[in-house]
Amino acid sequence: MTDKTWEPKIIAFLCTWCSYAGADLAGVSRFQYPPNIRIVKVPCSGRISPNLILNALRTGADGVLVSGCHPGDCHYISGNYFARRRFALFENLLEFIGIEPDRVNFSWVSASEGEQFAEIVKDVTARVKELGPATHLVKKFNEAA
């Protein structure tokens, strides 16, 4: 059981061309979703390395979402294909060392999928809430200071 007042913070790395546009469309269409995500715009899902995901967790993210264009739709031709391989191996590795699978999430959201974006955010937020605050790989900066 988690504290009722606790609200997770989720970092979402979204590619400019599809997923960020999809997030905008969710706004334009007024699809409501929980206010827990903090979107970081990047050019392409292929820009995101496992280092950046680990950094988000280390900094205190309770969840991470990386979203790009659907396979075949990458604005940069193949960025999401390379990203898919990196993420697949990385996600498995994290799971292997006992990170809950729902902490780190990957999705494809196109520029026309505003509703899907909202649904995915709802879903990810709910799952991260269910897990409670992240504990592994979170650097306790305050204590260290």
Binding site: D24, G27, Y76, G79, A83, S112
Partner: protein, 1006 residues
């Protein structure tokens, strides 16, 4: 040589678009606007359908761009008086009325309006509420300069009496001696974008408009909804300021009405306009809200409209197929009672708190006078007459027209025509391109390299779009406390001209070297703000936006506190990110001045000809063995223009044009590059270098199957519209003997599998029915339809069909007509809702109005050029409202059926619009290229070559001698795949490096 300048009359969205396209492609534009500011009707709208975009938000950047454009000479308070001369060499006289405020001095502080004692009705708010005699029409007005209304100013009426404004004006801008000026302008061509007037329903007694306070028009309601309107966006009814709960919309007020208003045409936009208002009003309402729409036929024939209609129904907007007889007071409280006739002829009553009249569009009286002065022909509805096959040409050569002044139409259609008109107006002046224009010069860029960060934060209210949810003041205060932030400020509309101008000053005064704007999406507004930075002497890349609207206030409407916290977080993240950003050099790409057009139908051929006639070489690629596409099977347009002769003429022009290389039975196998420099490989092995591409791959007729087969392919009396057209082209005698014909509409359209309306089939079917009737007056013809969608002046055709005795029977999805056969004889059973009984027909001919579907090739071509497609396979434009022919990928444009079903004249207009947009690129020697590129730190690079492998653009290579990688900035697109792939962290993306991303992430948790 012709003149290198163009006169554009009308400063609404169409005029603005035409002016921008022309100015961007090398012509000096004189933009004439009769009021004090550009923006037109669109600026008065609250939201736009079908995306519910905030109208001001999407329009404002265009207005600002127009206002700031070096090659647009904006003439407000002006009218075109006369036009003499001929194409290429006109002399226009423009009469400019005095503003009485010197625009070079006015600082838009508003003191004049505040002190002005004279209150007058506010015409911008359609008379709702008051303004002063010294006034500004709306907050985002361009130019943002006050004006004095001479009809109401006390001083101007009786000099010496008041003069309060002149006393308080700190800039000394008030000039009571201002005089009218007549400008004599030499221009090569003219674009008329005169817009429309909303129909005035006062003359329709049954509506009670003018007598009953709570009966208003849709345009008025739009002002009620607008945050810049008289009620600041709070929905109030006029009589008592209470929020209405029960609201009715009455469709076709002043449209489709021969008896009372003399407007037989359909105004085309009002159905969607009303649905949108019902949906938005429901959002505005606190608690229960019951919207009802009373209509005859629901006309949601545009892209995304039918789905919008379906969603509205699901979300509790109720629709009544009924014509309202009268609106009467229900009580003394201001409530209203509607008496209406239902579909079965029964009389019903319903009570409402407020009634909104969906008033139609009509031509302004001044337009009619102007047309007379300019010697332009008008059509029977007083719209400016155009040619079907050149939908932006008027009867006078060199004078072109766009937007609602030629026929009622929505914004995207107007924008499309505006670009098409710009093409035509520019095309005849092509030799004079860049001869009359000036070149933009930016102030010298400040070197901020050694300066410690001084960050300025501008937080936007966006009217109430942000401020109604997020505590903007608190965010602004908070921003000031962030490290390195030396300035923060909130603005009602950060994108308005005054704020932009002020931002330039603030950057200079405060010596800012980094800027954050917390407002809407960088996808729409970043270019505008980046331009502002350049105008202030800063590099445009030391800029970040925090998206606190699309990704905050709009999606957390019911959580204002959390949304405010999030806005602060997002602002802090943007500040953290901008802190680490550096000035970057501006890269450019040399333009290959040629085009590839994909698709050899009317759309593709029109685009190809439009470009070739301006001397740009074009390769036209058609996958089949012949040109013409779907037009090969079209008989005539709804205005009785034969398609085949036009098609033959167009094909001949294309084949004979020295600048067009036609490649038949040919497809694209590969495409790469970007705007200015694409490389495309064709299936014949040809390799093309080109600067732009136009995608016009067309659509195809749905082949009836399942519930919608109706014995098609099984009984030889069943045909599709195109098959009948083919028979008409071939002058078949078959119809002479036909006793009875039945048409079924919406075959395969407007159903869950294909939820769109195919737009053309109602008109096409009715036109065919009329043709059959003309050939054989004894033929009985039945039209089985769901809604008749003869939008615009096509409505006249519908009226003609009824007058000819063609019988219309409605069906719905619960009662799809059943078609069977008995020894070859067709038997159709359908439910007639008027008599509420089944009727049986035994026709000799059954014609199916089948849906239009996208071509499968569309999506593959889209993929080659990295363009988006929508959920149904139609190509997805960059913005449904304001960029109807652009893809999000720069340098690639679309036209025709691959975008959405549309009739021939609209395909032609769109193809010309696509050519106009392509011309902007082709008329430049170089276009801006990606400046955010990858860089290698040689000290960190180990030369493993992973970056080389993951780069999709061959932009990374190995320096074999030093064994480190090298990035070719000309080829790099800034995707960052190499950066993420590098284990050694030797690669970085300028300003989107790991450090900046990590700073943003870390700032999310402060």
């Amino acid at each position: 040589m012709p003149k290198g300048s163009v006169l554009v009359v009308g400063g609404g969205i169409a005029g603005v678009q035409a002016a921008l396209d022309l100015a961007d492609s090398g012509f000096l534009v004189h933009l004439v606007e009769k009021t004090t500011a550009i923006g037109g009707r669109m600026s008065q709208l609250d939201k736009t359908f079908p995306t519910n975009d905030c109208s001001a938000c999407i329009l404002s950047p265009k207005l600002v761009e127009c206002g700031r454009h070096l090659n647009i000479n904006l003439l407000t308070l002006s009218d075109l008086v006369s036009l003499e001369g001929e194409p290429g060499n006109f002399k226009a006289v423009v009469h400019q009325r005095p503003r009485y405020v010197d625009p070079t001095k006015c600082i838009a502080c508003g003191l004049c309006a505040e002190k002005c004692p004279k209150k007058v009705d506010n015409e911008y708010n359609l008379g709702i509420g008051k303004r002063k005699a010294a006034y500004l029409s709306f907050p985002q007005a361009v130019p943002l300069k006050y004006a004095i209304d001479p009809d109401n100013c006390i001083w101007l009426k009786k000099p010496g009496r008041c003069g309060a404004c002149a006393k308080v004006c700190p800039a000394g801008a008030i000039n009571f001696d201002d005089k009218a000026v007549d400008h004599e302008l030499e221009v090569g061509s003219v674009v008329l974008a005169l817009g429309f007037s909303p129909y005035d329903p006062s003359e329709l007694d049954f509506t009670g408009y003018g007598r009953l306070a709570n009966v208003i028009t849709t345009m008025e309601f739009e002002r009620y909804l607008s945050p810049s309107g008289p009620c600041m966006g709070h929905m109030e009814r006029p009589s008592d300021g209470k929020e209405p709960k029960r609201v009715a919309w009455l469709q076709c007020v002043g449209s489709r009405d021969i008896n009372r208003s003399c407007h037989p045409y359909c105004s085309s936009v009002c159905c969607m306009f009303a649905i949108k208002q019902a949906v938005i009003a429901k959002e505005h309402a606190h608690g229960e809200f019951a919207p009802s729409i009373f209509f005859m036929d629901m006309r949601t024939h545009g892209k995304g409209f039918e789905e919008y209609y379906n969603r509205a129904r699901e979300n509790g907007v109720s629709f009544h197929r009924a014509r309202v007889h009268s609106i009467l007071p229900a009580d003394d409280e201001g409530n209203l009672r509607l008496r209406y006739v239902n579909e079965q002829g029964g009389i019903e009553f319903a009570e409402f708190d407020m009634v909104i009249l969906s008033t139609g569009l009509e031509v302004d009286k001044n337009t009619i006078k102007l047309a007379e002065r300019l010697n332009l022909e008008l059509d029977e509805d007083n719209f400016i007459k155009t040619d079907v096959f050149n939908p932006v040409a008027t009867s006078r050569p060199g004078v072109f027209v766009c937007g609602a002044v030629a026929e009622p139409k929505d914004i995207p259609q107007s924008v499309m025509e505006a670009s098409a008109a710009a093409l035509e107006a520019g095309s005849i002046l092509a030799p004079a391109r860049w001869s009359a224009t000036a070149v933009k010069e930016y102030p010298l860029e400040r070197d901020i390299h050694a300066e410690p960060p001084r960050i300025g934060v501008f937080v936007c209210h966006c009217g109430i779009n942000i401020a109604s949810v997020v505590d903007v003041k608190a965010v602004t205060e908070y921003a000031r406390t962030l490290p390195d932030v030396v300035f923060s400020q909130d603005n009602l509309f950060t994108c308005s001209q005054d704020t932009i101008d002020q931002m330039v000053n603030t950057i200079k005064e405060q010596n800012l070297n980094r800027v954050v704007v917390s407002s809407c999406s960088p996808r729409t507004h970043e270019p505008l703000f980046q331009e502002t930075l350049r105008d202030a002497g800063l590099n445009k890349y030391v800029f970040e936006m925090a998206n606190i609207r699309d990704q905050d206030s709009w999606v957390h409407k019911n959580e204002p506190e959390a949304a405010t916290v999030k806005a602060m977080d997002l602002t802090r993240m943007a500040v953290a990110r901008v802190r680490g950003e550096e000035a970057l050099p501006y890269h450019t790409v040399k333009v290959d001045k040629s085009a590839v057009v994909i698709g050899g139908g009317i759309g593709g051929m029109t685009a190809a000809l439009s470009l070739a006639e301006q001397n740009f070489p074009v390769t036209l690629v058609e996958k089949s063995a012949q040109l013409g596409g779907n037009a090969n099977n079209l008989f005539r347009t709804w205005q009785d223009d034969k398609v085949q002769p036009y098609l033959a003429e167009t094909i001949a022009k294309v084949n004979n044009h020295p600048r067009i290389d036609v490649q038949l039975s040919c497809e694209i196998t590969e495409a790469g590059g970007s705007v200015g420099k694409f490389t495309t490989t064709l299936s014949n092995g040809q390799n093309l270098q080109h600067g732009v591409a136009v995608v016009a791959v067309g659509g195809k007729a749905y082949s009836p199957e399942g519930d919608w087969q109706f014995l098609y392919g099984q009984n030889d009396k069943v045909h599709t519209l195109l098959e009948i057209d083919r028979m008409l082209i071939d002058e078949s005698e078959d119809f002479k003997a036909t006793g009875q014909a039945v048409f079924i509409h919406c075959v395969g359209s407007r159903i869950p599998e294909r939820p769109w309306c195919s737009r053309v089939c109602c008109t096409h079917a009715i036109d065919q029915a009329v043709k059959l009737k003309e050939m054989n007056p004894d033929m009985d013809i039945f039209m089985l339809y769901r809604d008749i969608r003869t939008y615009g002046q096509r409505e006249r055709l519908y009226q003609k069909a009824r007058a000819l005795g063609i019988i219309f029977v409605r069906y719905d999805l619960d009662h799809i007509p059943a078609v069977s056969e008995d020894s070859g004889q067709l038997i159709i059973k359908t439910h007639d809702p008027i008599v509420d009984a089944e009727i049986t027909l035994q026709p000799d001919l059954l014609v199916l109005a089948t849906a239009i579907e996208p071509q499968a090739t569309g999506s593959s071509v889209a993929k080659f050029f990295k363009c988006a497609i929508d959920a149904h396979g139609f190509l997805l434009e960059a913005h449904m409202k304001l960029r109807p022919v652009d893809f999000a990928t720069d340098g690639v444009y679309l036209a025709g059926l691959c975008h959405y079903p549309k009739p021939l004249e609209e395909t032609i207009a769109q193809a010309k619009a696509a050519a106009a947009r392509a011309t902007i690129v082709l008329s430049l020697d170089e276009v801006p290229a990606e400046s955010i590129t990858a860089q290698v730190d040689p000290a960190k690079c180990v030369g493993c070559g992973v970056c080389v492998e993951v780069c999709a653009y061959n932009a990374v290579s190995m320096d074999e001698d030093k064994n480190i990688s090298l990035v070719n900035a000309d080829l790099c697109k800034g995707c960052g795949a190499c950066v993420a792939g590098c284990r050694s962290d030797a690669l970085t993306l300028q300003n989107i490096g790991n450090e900046q991303i990590m700073a943003a992430v870390e700032a999310a948790f402060d």
